[in-house]
């Protein structure tokens, strides 16, 4: 039964050497190894997190871009629409103005034509009057050459005056 009988000397050496082994391994091997492993795991998980965050950010930015493009499109459309409206308005206004102007011009023209007409008529009247006077003068001159006729004329004239 020697096999199952613990030996004191071996126990002593085993406890001494295993304690030293424990101390040295813990201090110089396990602590640095476990620390390095933990650090590496931490850095890996941190990097993974950062990558995920970056991905999210990218997606967000992409989404933002799309939104901005859409907004720009809308803006463009509304601007175009506004411009069109403005253009139409301007054209309409111009047309209106032109109409009014035209009317005014026509009116003025008409007035001036009227004036001219009146002026011409007056002139014609005056010329007719002058001409009449000339003619009358001429006639009178001719008539007065003949005594009898002059006398008669004067008589006629006197008669007319008396009647007046």
């Amino acid at each position: 039964m020697e096999l199952v009988k613990p030996d004191l000397g071996l126990l002593f050496w085993m406890i001494v050497s295993f304690s030293i082994l424990l101390y040295i391994l813990i201090k110089f091997a396990w602590k640095p190894i476990l620390k390095a492993l933990r650090d590496r795991e931490m850095s890996i998980s941190k990097s993974l997190l950062a990558a995920q965050r970056a991905k999210d950010e990218m997606a967000k930015i992409e989404f933002g871009n799309e939104k901005i493009t859409q907004l720009a499109k809308l803006e463009k459309e509304s601007l175009l629409k506004e411009a069109k409206e403005l253009k139409n308005n301007i054209i309409e206004e111009a047309r209106e103005d032109a109409k009014l102007e035209a009317k005014k011009i026509i009116k003025e023209a008409r007035q001036s034509v009227e004036q001219e007409k009146n002026k011409v008529i007056n002139e014609i009247k005056n010329q007719i009057a002058a001409l009449s006077v000339d003619i009358a003068e001429n006639i009178l001159k001719q008539k007065l050459e003949d005594e009898s006729k002059q006398k008669k004329l004067i008589d006629d004239l006197v008669k007319d005056i008396d009647l007046n």
Binding site: E2, L8, G9, M14, I24, A29, W30, I33, L34
Partner: protein, 369 residues
């Protein structure tokens, strides 16, 4: 599967133990201390004895036997350190005691309670006392060798971790990293829990690699392997004592209250006769005891079986050399098969010892919930 293996090995181990006992009982003359030399000669004449052959291989010894050539034993001498009440401290090389020689009144006993141990004898060769024996035996040498080996390996691994910070593992580092991570994550963290596992991981790593290395070295028949370190009850006892003391020292209030005032048990099982507390307290000692026995039995049994297969060659060879030759390929095949199984057992036993220690630590540091 390994349970079946364990059973088989146990049965065979018991058979061999019994054989030893039967042999001892069959020779009443052996108990006669006055004729040790005679008996030894008788023993030699008997020829091959598988029981002694196996025990000589698995027991601790004062020198490190390398090989025998034409009856001449070649061994590495190791220092013997003794303290006796009459002679004080004394130290000499182990070869001085070879072949039953007596040196300074010390000799290796061949029978009795101190068989194969150094005893102090008087001038007539009669037993006087067993001195305090702290010799550097074969197993102590193997333990020191494996300690130095482990320190060398893991300190260099730790240095490469420092040197290659943030880089993937390389060389030895990548060989051991999966094992270290396995012990940390699947043994320590899963058995002890997230909160306390970091305290115990270094110890668990140390016992795992110590047991694994010595299990594997025990399978190598050449120096510096071949010492049966983890199959020695003293070594497994020391390891179990470490686990026991760490469990007891780190045990919190909850752990002790589970032992002395087990919750969920009717009061009459605790008072007036503290039945459950007694069983629980007994369990505290049983757990490390079982750790000690399991590792010792598994590793010793594996060695005994392999040596048993080799013994067959000599047993049959003694009957007739031809028969021995015929049996040897079968024996060698079986021994190879067993050795491969033993490699598996080496890993399993190192793992089992570590995970059970981790579970005990987990119990000791478990919080009340």
């Amino acid at each position: 599967m390994y349970k079946i293996l364990l059973n088989i090995t146990f049965v065979i181990a018991i058979l061999i133990f019994n054989q030893e006992n039967i042999f001892a009982n069959d020779n009443p003359a052996e108990k006669d201390p006055e004729h040790p030399q005679e008996h030894n000669e008788e023993h030699e004449k008997e020829g091959f004895n598988p029981g002694d052959f196996i025990f000589d291989h698995i027991r601790d010894s004062y020198g490190w036997h390398l090989y025998s050539y034409k009856g001449h034993h070649v061994a590495i001498p190791l220092p013997v350190i003794l303290y006796s009440k009459t002679k004080g401290f004394i130290s000499f090389w182990s070869f001085k005691l070879d072949h039953g020689h007596t040196y300074h009144g010390f000799k290796i006993a061949h029978e009795g309670d101190y068989k194969n141990k150094i005893i102090e004898v008087n001038s007539h060769g009669e037993f006087v006392a067993r001195p305090l024996d702290i010799s550097i035996t074969k197993n102590v040498t193997a333990i020191l060798f494996s300690c130095i080996f482990l320190i060398f390996i893991f300190v260099s691994v730790a240095n490469s971790y420092k040197k290659r910070e943030g880089l993937p593992p390389k060389g030895l580092q990548s060989l051991f990293e999966p094992l270290i991570l396995f012990i940390r994550d699947d043994v320590a963290r899963s058995s002890i829990g997230e909160k306390h596992y970091e305290r115990f991981t270094p110890f668990l790593l140390t016992i795992f690699f110590f047991i694994l290395l010595n299990n594997l070295l025990g399978l190598v028949p050449l120096f510096p392997g071949g010492a049966n370190v983890t199959g020695n009850i003293t070594v497994t006892m020391a390891l179990a004592l470490f686990t026991f003391f760490i469990t007891t020292i780190t045990g919190n209030k909850n752990y002790w209250s589970h032992i002395f005032n087990t919750p969920g048990v009717p009061w009459w099982l605790k008072l007036p006769l503290p039945l459950i507390p007694f069983i629980e307290l007994f369990g505290v000692f049983i757990k490390p005891f079982v750790l000690m026995i399991r590792l010792f039995a598994n590793i010793s049994a594996g060695h005994i079986i392999v040596l048993g297969f080799f013994s067959l060659i000599f047993i049959f060879g003694k009957m007739s050399p031809g028969l021995g030759m015929a049996v040897s390929p079968v024996s060698v095949l079986f021994a190879i098969f067993m050795s491969i199984l033993e490699i598996l057992v080496a890993f399993i036993q190192a793992y089992v010892f570590t995970i059970l220690s981790a579970i005990y630590f987990g119990m000791a540091s478990e919080e009340d919930h």
